[in-house]
């Protein structure tokens, strides 16, 4: 089988003065070595951690009571995403008020939220009124001018106390996937939390 042939056994001329050397078998059995090599291969394949961790950058604003420093959003361009228990996602557009709350407040999943974000983004982009200042800034920074179209789009992420860390990272990742430029992680309001709780109870989510 696996063996090394050192090329003995041919080509020597026999002469009267040449003593016949004793023929040694120079074939080395390589099987154990090969066995060991493959054992090591399998070991390394199993222990290899090829995936090096990556980083998701998160910037939080400084807490401020100064009204001028607070980020302002247009009601028409805002989308609020609420995260509850059981990987459930709730959302509403604009502002939530008493009369329209039950209509606006909708429930979806982490898969479904992507379409909601895309739809809202398209809607905001369609209503874009040319902003020269923004476009010049983008051009100066060597960034696509088309990004100005979504300048009024703002996603507010509000996880409640039962949301898992994975949910939060998933939704932040969704911002990267859909190239949402402006989003914020905000504390959930009591009324909103109440609505999430009520919907959870109605849908029987534990």
């Amino acid at each position: 089988m696996a063996s090394l042939d050192s090329g003995d056994g041919g080509g020597h001329k026999k002469g009267p003065g040449v003593k016949k050397a004793k023929k040694h078998n120079t074939r080395v059995d390589m099987t154990p070595m090969v066995d060991l090599a493959f054992l090591l291969i399998t070991f390394f394949i199993f222990t290899a951690s090829m995936n090096t961790p990556t980083t998701l950058d998160l910037n939080m604003p400084k807490d401020t009571d100064n009204k001028d420093q607070k980020t302002k959003t247009k009601e028409s361009g805002s989308l609020t995403v609420l995260l509850g228990k059981g990987d459930q996602v709730y959302y509403y557009e604009g502002q939530l008020d008493q009369e329209t709350a039950s209509e606006k407040f909708k429930q979806t999943t982490h898969k479904g939220i992507r379409d909601v974000i895309i739809k809202k983004k398209r809607e905001v982009e369609a209503n874009y009124v040319q902003d020269v200042e923004c476009e010049q800034k983008k051009a100066a920074d060597n960034k696509p001018i088309a990004d100005c179209r979504q300048k009024d789009f703002f996603v507010i992420i509000k996880p409640n106390d039962e949301a898992s860390y994975k949910n939060v990272v998933d939704i932040l990742d969704e911002m990267t996937i859909n190239r949402v430029e402006r989003y914020a992680l905000v504390k959930i309001a009591d009324t909103e939390n109440e609505m999430v709780k009520v919907t959870e109870a109605a849908n029987g989510i534990k």
Partner: protein
């Protein structure tokens, strides 16, 4: 009766190329393997489409495990004594009376997640035995007793003038309030930029980021 003599075939296959390839693969795996650093608490991080590599120099790592326990560790690449200095700072600020051996144990221990009142007892144990101890986690949830604030403050003072990377490594199953408490502790120390540790994931082919990345690639390819 004459026997039918079958031609004698040599069944000895030459295995050399096979063995060559075998060793090639073996050497590749040996080189490519980066051994997982032993973790006292296993943490499964969520996935994200981000492709940025994790910076590992001058960093503090705040870990949250699945039971919402918070751990703190210092990762100084260039100067290992920085970790001692962090322990020293915490010891003076909170009057913990850590001695030099405790500080050295802090440097060598992979993760520390003990409240201050139990810290000295924990650090008295040698690092290789620390992993057998179940840690309580650094208290963070109550903002009045948020001990992580002191840890971060200590790290900031030690790494003053240098760039300090804050990494947050949370488990999939940990709950949001803990994460929020960690963020609050960082905010109280005027740190507003964090790196969340995630595992890479492929972006969906039709998503905007994938389209955007392809465009960027095209632009760079033209140059």
């Amino acid at each position: 009766m004459p026997r039918v003599s079958l031609p004698k075939k040599n069944t000895d296959t030459d295995m050399t190329p096979f063995v060559d390839i075998g060793f090639l693969i073996l050497s590749f795996f040996i080189m490519a393997t980066k051994f997982k650093t032993p973790e006292p608490v296993p943490i499964t991080t969520p996935n994200s489409v981000n492709a940025d590599k994790l910076p590992d120099d001058n960093a503090v790592l705040i870990s949250i495990d699945k039971d919402n326990k918070v751990y703190f560790s210092v990762i100084p690449k260039s100067d290992a004594t920085k970790a001692d200095a962090v322990a020293n700072d915490v010891s003076t600020v909170r009057e913990l009376n850590l001695d030099d051996k405790d500080k050295q144990n802090f440097r060598n221990s992979p993760m520390v997640g003990m409240p201050f009142n139990k810290l000295k007892g924990f650090l008295a144990v040698s690092p290789d035995k620390q992993k057998d101890i179940v840690q309580d986690g650094i208290p963070v949830l109550d903002s009045a007793t948020n001990e992580l604030v002191y840890w971060i403050g200590a790290a900031q003072r030690v790494f003053a003038g240098e760039k300090l990377v804050v990494m947050i490594k949370g488990d999939n199953d940990s709950h949001y309030p803990t994460f929020k408490a960690v963020i609050d502790a960082l905010k109280r120390n005027e740190i507003f930029k964090y790196n969340l540790v995630t595992m890479p994931e492929e972006a969906p082919g039709t998503s905007e980021i994938a389209v955007y990345r392809r465009e960027i690639e095209k632009l760079q390819g033209k140059k």
